[in-house]
């Protein structure tokens, strides 16, 4: 049985475990129909031209992973941003791990989707927001059909989350292959502020496929900063579907740090539903081996006087492949839009490749839209210059690559996150220098 059939038939088993008389279940039932109809995307679709799921879909995934193996904090501490106080929503094999987590209901809600989906006090928010940003694209629909667990974050009006929130997913399963489908909902009410850090980590040698959906609502004047740290093993694949709806004067930023994993697809979608909104999409990709990353972004400018800023840097070595597909839609009403997009890449091996494609659909006539993409190599004369000052070639290369990514890194607002990213980059580039530029 192929994975699609397996999933569709598993839905019946899934229904035995959840409350079928709920708003959410109606949404799930619609979603499984969409998935059944559309199936997994193939390379024939324009948006999937350079990313094939064929290989990873061949694994015999366990759709409902078994209960968690115990993890000790000391063993997984290195995957946390552990040098600052944070809230933590931690999952092991898709199940909530209470002993690794630190949630709250004190003023803000930092807790579990499973609780939000079942407890009456969250009903109104679920009915107002659940699946209201996600599209009917097949992978997002698949996630919706099986949505039962993930992070639920609600920041009420005028509240500031007093510390950053970490969402971590660990895989420890002994099964031959595991499919995880976390579902996150984040609602930042008017004039609130929240910072979130997300990471997926495979701790086994078995394949893991994560098909995640995160819906974020940034209400009037809310500020949401989201950091995705993707540095998983060669057996782990991630399809990240993130949908962000913004209301007037809100600022939402997503930083995506793609440093590893077999296949990573980032579907990042911003919808601007008010005036004077700022959307910020930043990415640093540093890949080697046979790793593949596909950044597929959408910024939908619907109202006037809004801005969007996209800046993605990529460094590709060995046989790594990358894709950047950045779509900007400016509706007729969205006059005075400022939309910027830039994608710069360095290829450090003859076998690495990047496909970069800006897609601009502009229906308004008084807008500023710019886009640019570059593909280059490391500057040999700069390397010799640095070597002549005593910096060995390997370190000189690393420094140049780091400097290349630096303007994206400099916009990270949590210093400890930046410090950790710097460490991962140094590790990835095999050098021991403190990139403190």
């Amino acid at each position: 049985m192929d994975l699609k059939d397996k999933l569709v038939s598993s839905f019946l088993a899934f229904e035995n475990k959840v409350d079928v008389d709920s708003y959410v279940h109606d949404v799930r039932t619609d979603a499984i129909k969409v998935f059944e109809e559309k199936g997994f995307p193939s390379k024939k679709e324009e948006a999937w031209k350079y990313t094939s799921l064929n290989k990873i879909l061949k694994e015999d995934y366990s759709v409902f992973p078994k209960q968690e193996n115990a993890l000790e904090y000391k063993d997984v501490k290195k995957y946390f941003i552990h040098d600052i106080d944070t809230y933590k929503i931690i999952f092991i094999d898709g199940k909530y791990s209470s002993h690794l987590s630190e949630t709250t209901h004190d003023g803000i809600d930092v807790c579990l989707m499973s609780a939000a989906l079942t407890k009456p006090k969250y009903r109104l928010i679920i009915e107002n927001y659940f699946n209201k940003a996600a599209t009917k694209e097949s992978l997002a629909s698949l996630n919706t059909a099986f949505s039962s667990e993930g992070a639920y974050i609600h920041i009420p009006k005028n509240k500031i989350a007093d510390k950053p929130i970490q969402i971590l997913h660990f895989s420890t399963g002994n099964e031959s292959a595991t499919l995880l489908q976390p579902r996150n909902l984040i609602v930042a009410e008017e004039n609130s502020h929240v910072q979130i850090i997300e990471r997926h980590q495979n701790l086994t040698d078995n394949p893991v496929l994560t098909n995640s959906v995160t819906e974020i609502f940034a209400k009037k004047r809310a500020i949401v900063d989201y950091y995705k740290i993707q540095n998983d093993t060669a057996k782990a694949s991630l399809i990240d579907n993130t949908f962000i709806k913004q209301q007037r004067e809100s600022v939402a930023s997503v930083h995506t740090f793609a440093f590893g994993g077999k296949l990573t697809r980032n579907n990042l979608n911003f919808y601007q539903e008010g005036e004077r909104i700022d959307s910020i999409l930043k990415g640093v990709t540093i890949l080697g081996d046979k790793e593949h990353v596909d950044h597929n972004t959408l910024v939908h400018h619907i109202e006037p006087n809004c801005e969007s800023h996209q800046d993605y840097k990529g460094v590709f070595g060995d046989n790594a492949t990358g894709v950047f597909n950045g779509k900007i839609i400016v509706e007729k009403e969205a006059q005075k839009t400022n939309a910027f997009q830039s994608n710069n890449n360095i290829l450090i091996s003859d076998k690495a490749s990047i496909n970069t494609k800006p897609q601009l659909e502009i229906f308004a006539d008084d807008v500023k839209c710019s886009h640019g993409c570059t593909i280059g190599q490391l500057d040999e004369s700069a390397l010799f210059y640095m070597q002549s000052r005593g910096i060995p070639k390997k370190e000189a290369k690393a420094l140049l690559m780091y400097a290349f990514c630096n303007n994206v890194l400099s916009s990270v607002k949590i210093p400890e996150v930046k410090y950790r990213i710097n460490k991962i980059i140094a590790n990835k580039l095999g050098v021991d220098i403190g990139f403190n530029l």
Binding site: S381, Y385, S388, G390, I391, P392, K393, I433
Partner: protein, 250 residues
């Protein structure tokens, strides 16, 4: 300190240096002059270890060791410094952090601990004052958007930070106005001691009024065709290079 014997070098199979002999001892200042295309910059690149240049014959010894097989950074660790004719712009790396990395990598190579941040800042302050460099300048990206004069001053600042045994100044005077020239030359002179040496590569005699050479060599067509004292530089300034070419051809 530096002993070059019958050095032949080529780039992309084009022979550029055709038998150079040069010996530089501690405490000496040598000037290498010559018309454009005579091989001056190639000589400095070959000494510093640029990979594109292949030594086809002869040898370069530094402190009694053949350095031909050493990487550029290893030569730097031994105390060779090249001030570039065209310093390279490195966006995203500040002057301060570039110097920190360079100094700490040299220390690492010598088995020393990293320099404590406090000492580093003190050293940077001291050496930037010597070159009359504004503090704000140090946090800018290396050479990016610097004027010609700023770039050259920055080269000598780096030299002051690294304290090399042998400094090769490749056309350091080009692009400098008279005030900048004085600051740069003053910096070099202050760093000069009985234990280190300077090789000044220049097209014009102007810089040599400030950095006074013990020996002057004329490079032509990949060979040193004439050597003398500082008076030779004055003669070249007055008469140009044509008489040397004629002398060689005759």
């Amino acid at each position: 300190m530096l002993k070059i014997k019958d050095l032949h070098a080529s780039v992309e199979d084009k022979s550029i240096l055709k038998g150079i002999n040069l010996e530089v001892k501690p405490g000496e200042v040598h000037a290498i002059m010559g018309p454009n295309g005579s091989g001056k910059s190639t000589l400095s690149s070959v000494i510093a270890g640029k990979e594109e240049y292949e030594v086809t014959k002869g040898s370069i010894e530094f402190d009694g060791e053949d350095i031909d097989e050493l990487a550029a950074e290893e030569r730097a660790h031994k105390g060779i410094f090249l001030s570039f004719q065209y310093p390279v712009e490195i966006p995203g790396v500040s002057v301060t952090n570039f110097m920190k990395t360079a100094i700490n990598e040299s220390r690492k190579a010598k088995g020393l601990e990293e320099m404590p941040a406090k000492d580093m800042l003190k050293l940077i302050r001291e050496k930037s004052e010597l070159l009359e460099i504004d503090r704000k300048f140090l946090s800018r990206s290396l050479n990016e958007g610097f004027s010609g004069g700023e770039k050259k001053r920055n080269e000598i600042f780096q030299m002051a930070m690294l304290e090399p045994k042998l400094a090769i100044l490749d056309e350091t005077d080009s692009g400098l106005d008279i005030d900048a020239l004085r600051i740069v030359a003053n910096g070099v002179n202050k760093l000069k001691s009985q234990d280190n040496a300077v090789v000044v590569i220049t097209h014009y005699q102007r810089l040599l009024d400030y950095i006074v050479p013990d020996y002057v060599h004329v490079l032509h067509n990949g060979k040193i065709v004439k050597s003398g004292t500082k008076e030779l530089a004055h003669e070249l300034e007055e008469k140009g290079y044509d008489w040397i070419k004629e002398e060689v051809n005759a």
